[in-house]
Assembly symmetry: C2
């Protein structure tokens, strides 16, 4: 598959990835290391929380979105990183054993003001559960290299 450059991220283009199974052990191990709040670790404590039962740390959700965007298109693109994240919304709990699907939609693009070899791609990431319910939304600008002049042209 050919590499993706900034020019390939046209407004409205959609990348889909999934499903990916989220095992209980993985989400609990993440919480134990980075977000040891009882509602992410302990079934009984979680039942009495707003989550109504054991649920993943929202930051585990972000890490999974990152991995799925890597597997979906970032890993085969000329990605140069990101200056930050515009917004994250945790809409519904991610449960142990959930099977999730990622949709990435290109919302805006612009050339870099300072680097002629680079552009920005503003992407909305939506993570869905197996039943199609939206679990989280994340909006972030990614930096992408422009296709080199005189370089290989995509077939």
């Amino acid at each position: 598959m050919s590499r993706l450059y900034w020019e390939d991220f046209t407004v409205g283009r959609v990348f889909e990835h999934g499903p990916r199974l989220l095992p209980r052990e993985e989400m609990v191990a993440f919480a134990a290391e980075f977000d040891p709040q009882p509602m992410h670790l302990d079934d009984e404590a979680a039942r009495h929380s707003m989550l109504g039962g054991l649920a993943a740390s929202g930051w585990y959700g972000c890490a999974i979105v990152m991995r799925m965007m890597f597997d979906g298109f970032v890993g085969r693109s000329e990605a140069m990183g990101a200056p930050g994240v515009e917004e994250v919304r945790w809409l519904a709990p991610i449960r142990p054993g959930d099977s999730v699907h990622l949709r990435a939609t290109v919302r805006n693009v612009r050339a870099s003001l300072t680097r002629p070899d680079m552009g920005l791609v503003r992407i909305e990431f939506e993570l869905f559960g197996a039943g199609g319910e939206r679990l989280m939304v994340l909006i972030a600008p990614l930096m992408m290299a422009k296709r080199p002049a005189g370089g290989a042209v995509q077939p």
Copy 2:
């Protein structure tokens, strides 16, 4: 130490935590699992990237901020989770072996419009390197339980 309720998060209150050492193995293991871009895994590839050398995934930085806010005050507060994140800015690379410090500043507070037992606390988190340079900024609203009427009063 007494538990912290919503009423304890007054505008301008600051919580500090650190230092925390970020070992190379931990940041590389995180990247291998969740963000396997070459600049987070491989010294040689990282040298040729915008980061100019191996640097942590920005999502590892977020996970560390979460853990440090837990150790700093969330773990002893009546935190009920968060609806999302307002903004993340990755200002400078986090390097293997960096020793970091977290400052959390309460920026706004408001009672919940729908839940009389809960309030929101909007916090700006700043992560600093050992030399005092700002590595990242994260702004998020946290949900906190209000102090129960007739309950234990803080000494």
